[in-house]
Structures are given as C-alpha cells and as structure tokens.
C-alpha cells in the first residue's frame, strides 16, 4: 500500500533550511496496521503528510495505493485523497457549522455520490452515533467528535487510514474506546492504518511499530508484546 524509498524533506524558513526527513525507507502492506512513534520533531506527522500527498518530498520516491505521488498535480492529489485516504486528526477538525451527518457526508458529496446522506447515516450508526446525527460538533463530547471523524475518514471507503495522535485530546478511557473502534473498523474493512502516537501502549496494538528519531527510522518491527482491545462493546461505549 505504501512504499517510501530514500525520502528526504527539507523545509525552508526564515531561519534557514530545516531537514525534517532524512532518507526514509518504509513499506506498509495492504491491511497492515503500523504505528509510528518517536519524540516530538522526529518527523512522524510529516511522514503522515507525505503519505497523504499533503507534503511534496524534496527527493525520493513515494508510492501510495499504486500511485507515484510525485507525478500527481494538486488536483490529482486531491482526487487521490478523496478515493483512497481517510485522515483522523488529534483535534478532530470537524467543520463546526455542519452537523455530524453533514460532516460525514462531505467526502461522499465531493465524489458526487447520490447516496451520500444514506451512507453517512450508516457510518454514524456503525460508530454508535445514530442518536447524534443532527448535532453540531460543539454539541458533542470529545470522544463523540472523534467517532464522527472516524466515520468521516471511512465513509468513502478509504483503503488507507492515516491517524495523527487520535487520542491526544481524549481521556484515557475514551481514548481506549476510540482505538478499539478504529482497529475494529480497520480490520473489518481490511484497510491499511498508519497510526502516529506518543503512546507506546497504543502503538503496540499495531502489527508493526516504527520508531523515528531526528528524521530517520531508528527501528522497525513487530511490537514486543501485542496489546489487545479493551473488550468493551460499542453499546457500552455509547452508554459511557
């Protein structure tokens, strides 16, 4: 699903050029879940942006979902994200003026899907929010907002889920429930998951974990001890 070869990224600022990625090689197979861990500034989120086609690399080769991102222009990259990528953010980034249903429908509407509303509704039911369809983000708890964000990321059938610290703004219990949901949906759809996190325990639920430091992959491999889900059901989560 993802193939990065000798990827370098240098950003230019007033203080001079800053090299953020320094020769990254990484392969992620379809259906695999990989965790990216490392200290702040190590390049985790940047690597996510590169995989989403939001940041163009300075050198190297980026293949995602069978596409060479370097050859795509801005519009083609937008279409690529629309078709294949779902992104989940730490701060949810729901559009505050739209209801939960409308937020989830957007990726489908952008694809001119006539069944956008119906499918968005199904996604929200799947994440246990059928009673919050017409609520605006400001009327939802943090956990609910993140569930809406997950539904949105998956509503258009994305094959690649990019999650940037999805539990960073949630308490431990909610965070755990969200991760259960995310892994469950990823497994159900056989989607590929790239999870950026500071939490080694969360990363250990992935198939593999890559540790980044100073723009390089320091280590990569299966987690030492694979963590399990919390075991709580969606109904319990909803009650919570």
């Amino acid at each position: 699903m993802i193939s990065l070869r000798d990827v370098h990224l240098t950003l230019h600022s007033n203080a001079g050029p800053v090299e953020i990625l320094k020769g990254i090689d990484l392969d992620v197979a379809a259906g695999e879940a990989i965790g990216l861990v490392g200290p702040s500034g190590s390049g985790k989120s940047t690597l996510l942006m590169v995989a989403a086609g939001l940041e163009a690399v300075s050198s190297g080769v980026v293949h995602v979902a069978g596409r060479d991102l370097h050859t795509l222009d801005e519009d083609a990259l937008a279409h690529f994200r629309r078709e294949d990528v779902g992104i989940i953010f730490q701060s949810f980034h729901l559009i505050p003026t739209m209801t939960a249903l409308e937020n989830v429908a957007i990726p489908l509407e952008l694809r001119s899907d006539n069944t956008a509303e119906k499918r968005a509704r199904e996604e929200l039911v799947r994440v246990g929010l059928e009673h919050r369809l017409d609520h605006f983000p400001g009327q939802l708890s943090g956990g609910e907002q993140q569930r809406v964000a997950i539904a949105r990321a998956l509503s258009a059938g994305a094959r690649l889920i990019l999650a940037d610290e999805p539990t960073g703004n949630l308490d431990l219990e909610n965070g755990a429930l969200i991760m259960d949901l995310l892994f469950e949906l990823q497994a159900d759809r056989n989607a590929t998951l790239v999870l950026v996190t500071h939490e080694p325990t969360l990363a250990s639920r992935c198939d593999r974990v890559a540790t980044l430091r100073d723009g390089r992959i320091e280590s990569i491999g299966a987690p030492k001890r694979r963590r399990k889900a919390t075991g709580k059901t969606l109904a319990e989560a909803r009650a919570k």
Binding site: M49, E74, H79, I95, P96, S112
Partner: protein, 847 residues
C-alpha cells in the same frame, strides 16, 4: 476522469458553511450595499428627472415646436410658414426694470409677453385662481400683469398697485402660482412679470436692437404626434429657415440647459458613487480576506477530505455571490424606493417635473457595477484560498500564502475590470472624462501598491535600532503577513477621495463667495439706443464724477458655418460647444478691446472699410479649427454675414469687463440695427441713485447689478455644492468602513503579539506606543499620496467637468489629511485596545 462535485453539492456545502453567521461579512455587506445604493439611487433620480422633463416636454416648451428669433419678429412669409404647421402662439421674453409707480427704486424683472392663445399646452395658474386672460386684460386704461410674489416684496407693493415698466404703468392683478413653460425659459435673474403683447408694446421697451426673444410655439395636433413625425417636421422647417437665424427646438428637447445640468450633475454624482463603490471594493477585498482567514481550517479540512482547489474556489465564490446578490438586492430596492419617497415628499418644492417610478436601466447598471466590483476585488483572495494547504491542520504556524493566484483567476479579475470599464464608457456621457477617471483609478491602485512595497523595503533596509517598541512597530510593517499593503491601499484611497472632495468643495465655495474683483463693474446696462449714448453717459457722470463707463455696440448672432462646414456638422470639444449653442453676443470695435491681447494675426487698421473681418477668441478658434485667414459665417437678424478671421485674441475673462468671443470690424455691423451695452464701475453708495436716474430717464434701458447676477449663479452652484457634500458624506462613511476592515485584518496577529508581550511584562501603554508608531508611519505615507492624488483629481473635476477656476488650498487639504490620519490612529488604537483587553492565556491557548 474524476468528476468534480455538482453545483448543487457546492451550494449545499457553501450554505452549511455560512451557518456560522454573517459577522465576518458585515463590512462586505455595508460597503457593497452603500456603493450600489449610491449609484442606483442617483441613477433612478436622474431617470425620474429626465423622464419628467420628457413627459412634460410639450408643457415646458409651450407646444410641440418652438421657433425663436432674437431682436426681430417673424416676417409675414415666415409667419405663414408657421401657421401652416398648426396653432401658433407668440411669446416675447426680455429683461427690463420695473418700479412701483409711486416709488423710485427699480428692480430687474423677466418679462414674458403672451398672446391670448398662451399657454398652448399646460395650465397657467394664479394664486387666487383668476384666469390669465382676465388678469392681463386692459381695464380702466391699464394693462394687467401677473407677477412672482418676490416682486411684491421687492417693490413693496400689493395686488392692485401700479408698476412702471418702460413708459407704461401696469396694474398688478395676480400672483403666479404655476407657469407651465418656466423651465424652458432658461436662466432667470429676476422675478417673472407676465403681460399681454399689447402691454409690451405700450412699454416701448422694444426698440431696434433690443434684446427681445420672440418665440413662436406651434401645436402640431395629430400631425406631430410621434417623435419621428416631429423630427421630420423640424428637419423640413430647418431646411426652409436655415438662413433666417431661427432657433428651433422640439418638445423632446424642451429644456436643454436643464437637461445638460442634470446630466452633468448626475455624471459627477455617479462617478462619486462609483468611486465610493471602488473604495468600498478594497473594503470588500479586506473583508473577504479576513473571512477566508477564519475559514482556513475548514478549507484545509476539505482539502484533506479530497476537495480540489477549484472546488474550494467554487464553494467560497458561491458564498460571496450569494451575499453580493443579497447586498445588491437590498441596495437596489432602497435605490429604487428612496428617490420615489424623496420626490413624492418634496414634489411641491422641486423646480423640475419628475415622473416617480421604477427605472430598470439605472438599477441594472448599478447592479452590474456591484457584481463586477465584487468579482474584481474578491477573486484574488478567493484564488489564494484555493491554495490553502491541507497541511495547515498538522502545523500550528504556516507562513501566509504570498504567491499570485493562478493565471485563470488573474484573467477573471482582468475581465471583470474590463467589463466594468466598458460599462462605464457605454453608460457615462463623456468618454474623455470616463477614460481619465478609469486611468486615474488604476494609477492610484498601482501607486499605492508600489508605495506599500516601498515603505516595507525602506523600513526593512534602513530603519533599525530605537526602543524595543519602535523596533516592534517597524517589524510589524514588513513582517510576513503584514497588513501594510491593505491598510495603505484602503487608507490611501479613502484619504485621496476625501482630499478630492474637500478641494472641490473649497473651490466651489470660493467661487460662490468670491469677492467681486476690485475693478469689476457695478452694473451692466442693456439696450441703450444709439441716440441715448451721450445722455446716458451724462446721467452717470452727474451721479458720480468718478464713475467709469465702458460702452460697446451689442448684437446677437449665431455661428452657422465655419469655413464651408455647417455648424451642426462640426465635431468640437465639449468645453466649447456652448459657442455653437444658440445666439451669442457680438460687437464691433475700431481697436483691440481692453482685457485682451493678440495671439496671432493683425488688428484691422483704423477706418478700415473693406470686406468684413473678425477677431476670434483663441480657445474657441482652436476648438472650431479656425485660423487666421479662414472664414466664419454668422446669422445676425436673419441675415448671413461671412467674415474672414483677421486675428486670434486671448481674453482675460476674470476682469469682468466687456469682452466678446467674436469682435467684428466696424464696417461689417455698423449699419445693422443694434443697441449698446455699458458697464459702469462706481462706488456702492452711488449705485441706487444711479439706477433710479437711468430708469427715470430711459425706461427702456435694463440694468443688471453684477452682485445680483452672481447671486443667481450662486444659487445654482449651491445646489451643486449640496450634491458634493452628499458625496463627501458617503465617501467618508465608506472610508471609515474600509479602514475598519483593513485594521481588522491585522487584529488576530495583534492579539497574539499583545498576549506574548504582556506575558513578557509589557504594559498596555508600551504596546500602544508601538502601535501608534506603526499607524503614524502608514498615515504619513498615505497622507503624502492623498495630497498629490487628491489634488490632481480635484483639479480635473473643477477644471474639466465643472469648468470653474482652480486654486489649490493647502490648509484645507492639510486639515483633511491630518483629520483623516487622526481618525486612522483612533480607529487603529481602538482595534488595539480591544486586542490588549483580551486575557493573554486565552489567546495563547487558542494559538
């Protein structure tokens, strides 16, 4: 190929995004509504006036066609020609003096002598409902007159009293309530006195060469019902009377002077409205940029969800257009309604007829300007919004996008501007002024943009050191994302507009209150017969030994040909078209008149008796394409007179002495029947006695006090001035709105700076000091620009459009600029004060 979302999807997303409220669009809506409203309301009002004049054309003219002659009546053949066309009513108009029969102080009056068919069209009304015929009838040996009520006050008389006009005593029988053809009578200096033609004859005012205008109004009946038929009849009669000096007007041009005045005033006001809209356009751009800044995260989110740049552009363009349509609709509704309410409320005191109603043409033009200006000013920020990267959601600080929008967007901006300019050329009557206006506006934008770049570069390069707060102020000017360009553009345009209007105002006020030149005459005396010349001079000398009298022969004539080209076929600059419009004063002189000097050619020799020669004022000659040796033909008293241009002459009109555009060699006109014109310069204390003596001895001589004439012109200018002040008020409102929008564009950055500085221990005063320095720098550079650009624009309006003398008034311009800069500082500091009032912790957390 990937499909882009349909317009209905785009509109749905745009609508949902607007749920956040219109707070960010308040300035956008205000600027657009105010600008479109100004153009729509002025356009509607003009259309109502023009329509009123057109509809009342027959009444204003007094018939379907008016045939006018100066200084002579129609002869029998001519009268027969007119009688063949339809019912003919004969009217004579002239200026004269009137006094109470038992008083001795005369007043200037405007006589209208009518036959018993008057008015052919429309209704004449007296205050007490008396019929005109009975009011003017001869009773007990006295002809009756109907007068304006101002004459009663001026002569201290009442109904039934006698007034002396010329050599006749006439009885005042009625006060005029409504004179249907007054508007078509042209500029008036005194109150109207209506009398019968017989009564005019009894006054003996009509002497050879007297300035009497004989008007024959024809009611064509069914034959001239359509404007085309009317045009054909006018054309046919023009061909038959071309050499007779007739001035022919149809009902479709019943009051050309008024129409011209309305057109001119409307043109100026609409340009002022358009300027307000363009200045407002800067406010619109600022508002849209500020709004899009608040939508950055939404745009980035949409990008991450797969929206293309084009989709983003369409979503936000839809929002802008929805709001533009709302603002324009409100403006059009108000623009259509307010003039109707205004003219309905004030119809009684309006000097011209109006047809209140809905006029789609000016409203469409206003709407088109509104939408085009919106597009021209919003496509740029919208084009930049499409480039907001999705990566914004991953990084807390992203440098603002500085690159230019893609080519299609720049092309769309250019297209909007070109269409707006084309519309201006099509809609406005004077392409030269319109071109100047468009060029000036473009130049202002470019200069202000360069000025902002220059200021930023200068500060970056040369201004270092100083206190930490001054350093902060100067860094604010050139830091990434600085609001300097938008503040300088907004402030510069607003200031320049205010300076322009202030200087126009001051020039017009000066013209209004102009002290009469020291050597200016006290009186113009008209219609002095040749045999009255010596006794007239004796009377003047008897009243004041020091009085200076200048006498010249005076005739009226109309230029009919320049070389072999008929005057109607000449294309001449607008500023000299008046010279071809109707009759002009002519004279003959043995030598070069005072107050003028030769520019080319030679003055004729004393006693010259050869073929007719003429001296032509140089600017008119240039406008007509005349040079020494060319021929010009004048119709004087129904006869064609062709003269060779002997010389060109520059005239100092400001001296207010007697001077004429055309001065002939004496032999050319000496034998034509004519009267004389005199100017008398005397001390004010001798004026009343002099007036009384001349009137007592020579009732046919008319005196016009220069002060009264200037007052009459002043009334007209006062109306213009009121219009200018209206435009100033609108532009002031617009400038404040635009400035507020520009300052708001830096508000978020200021909030952040203030929070950081306060956290580091800076007081509000420290931060304010830095802001004062920054705003003062903006104020200084824009003030310099506004002084120069505003002065040039005001000069163009005063000199070219209003054709008034121009003088630069530094104190007024300076006070305007300083006042406006203080306003900027106050507005800016008010914005800063809000920013400083915010709790630092909240601001820092939000960032």
């Amino acid at each position: 190929m990937m499909r882009e979302p349909t317009w209905s999807t785009v509109l749905a997303i745009a609508r949902r995004d607007l749920r956040g409220g219109l707070r960010g669009f308040r300035i956008f809506l205000a600027c657009l509504t105010l600008g479109v409203l100004t153009i729509a309301a002025l356009g509607s009002l003009t259309a109502m006036l023009q329509s009123g004049i057109a509809k009342e054309g027959r009444a204003i003219l007094g018939g379907d066609i008016e045939f006018a002659l100066v200084q002579r009546e129609a002869n029998a053949d001519e009268r027969a020609l007119l009688d063949d066309l339809g019912n003919v009513s004969k009217v004579a108009t002239l200026r004269a003096l009137a006094r109470a029969s038992d008083g001795d102080t005369p007043a200037l009056i405007e006589i209208k002598a009518v036959d018993n068919l008057y008015p052919l069209v429309g209704t004449f009304e007296t205050v007490d409902g008396q019929h005109l015929e009975s009011a003017l009838a001869q009773v007990d040996g006295y002809h009756g007159v109907a007068v304006d009520d101002t004459l009663l006050a001026r002569l201290d008389i009442d109904i039934g009293d006698l007034i002396r006009v010329g050599t006749a005593d006439l009885q005042v029988r009625a006060v005029i309530a409504r004179e249907p053809d007054r508007l078509g009578s042209g500029f008036v200096f005194g109150p109207r006195v209506m009398m019968a033609l017989d009564a005019l004859a009894s006054t003996e005012l009509v002497q050879p060469g007297s300035l009497v205008r004989w008007r024959y109004r024809v009611d064509l009946g069914l034959a001239g019902e359509s404007d085309r038929e009317l045009g054909n009849i006018i054309e046919a009669t023009q061909a038959e009377t071309i050499d007779s000096g007739w001035r022919i007007r149809g009902r479709t041009h019943a009051a050309p002077n008024v129409e011209r005045f309305i057109e001119r005033l409307s043109f100026f006001m609409t340009l002022a409205g358009l300027t307000a809209l363009i200045v407002g356009g800067v406010g619109i751009a600022n508002a849209v940029r500020n709004y899009l800044e608040t939508r950055t995260k939404t745009i980035a989110t949409l990008k991450c969800l797969g929206a293309t740049g084009a989709t983003i552009f369409r979503i936000y363009l839809s929002q802008i257009l929805i709001l533009a349509v709302i603002a324009t609709s409100i403006a059009l509704a108000l623009g259509a309604l307010l003039p109707v309410v205004g003219v309905t409320l004030f119809s009684e005191i309006l000097p011209v007829p109006v047809v209140a109603g809905f006029y789609w043409q000016p409203l469409s033009v206003a709407a088109a300007f509104g939408i085009l200006v919106t597009l021209a000013f919003t496509i740029w920020p919208l084009g930049r919004a499409r480039d907001v990267p999705g990566a914004v959601l991953f990084r807390s600080i992203i440098a603002p996008i500085r690159k230019w929008p893609p080519l299609p967007y720049l092309a769309a901006i250019s297209a909007s501007m070109i269409v707006a300019a084309t519309l201006a050329f099509l809609w406005y009557p004077d392409p030269r002024i319109t071109a100047f206006y468009i060029g000036g506006t473009l130049a202002s934008f470019i200069l202000l943009w360069l000025l902002s770049l220059g200021l930023m570069a200068f500060v970056r390069r040369f201004v270092h050191g100083g206190s930490p707060y001054s350093r902060l102020a100067f860094r604010n000017i050139h830091r990434p994302g600085t609001p300097a360009p938008s503040i300088i553009l907004s402030l510069g345009l607003g200031l320049a507009l205010m300076v322009t209007l202030a200087l126009i105002d001051t020039n017009m006020s000066r013209e209004l209150n102009a002290s009469i030149p020291e050597k200016a005459p006290s009186f113009f005396f008209l219609d002095i017969q040749t045999d009255q010349l010596q006794p007239f001079q004796d009377i003047i000398a008897g009243e004041s030994a020091s009085a200076e009298v200048e006498l010249v022969p005076m005739l009226r004539g109309r230029i009919t040909h320049v070389g072999d080209t008929p005057a109607e076929e000449l294309t001449v600059p607008s500023e000299i078209q008046w010279a071809l419009r109707g009759d002009r004063g002519l004279t003959y002189e043995e030598s070069l008149p005072e107050g003028s000097h030769l520019v080319s050619g030679q003055w004729w020799a004393p006693g010259y008796e050869g073929k007719p020669l003429v001296s032509v004022e140089v600017e008119i000659a240039q406008g007509l394409g005349l040079d020494v040796g060319d021929n010009i033909t004048i119709n004087v008293l129904g006869r064609e007179l062709t003269a060779e241009v002997a010389n060109l002459r520059a005239v100092e009109w400001e001296s207010m002495g007697i001077n004429f555009v055309l001065v002939f060699s004496p032999s050319a006109l000496r034998n034509a029947p004519h009267s004389h014109l005199a100017t008398v310069v005397t001390e004010p204390e001798f004026e009343q006695a002099m007036l009384r003596s001349v009137n007592a001895s020579f009732p046919n001589i008319t005196a016009i006090r220069v002060k009264d004439a200037l007052d009459a012109v002043g009334n007209l200018l006062n109306r213009l001035l009121a219009a200018i002040r209206g435009a100033s008020a609108i532009s002031l409102m617009m400038s404040v709105l635009v400035l507020a929008g520009a300052l708001a564009s830096g508000y978020r950055a200021r909030m952040y700076d203030a929070a950081v500085l306060k956290t580091l221990g800076a007081t509000r005063r420290n931060v304010l000091t830095s802001h004062v320095i920054e705003y003062a720098a903006y104020g200084f550079v824009t003030a310099v620009f506004a002084l120069i650009a505003g002065s040039i624009a005001a000069f163009a309006v005063v000199d070219y459009i209003m054709e008034l003398p121009w003088a630069f008034d530094l104190p007024i311009a300076g006070v305007t600029v300083v006042g406006a800069v203080i306003m900027t500082l106050v507005l800016g500091l008010a914005t800063s004060w809000r920013a400083l009032g915010a709790k630092p912790a909240r601001t820092l957390r939000a960032n």
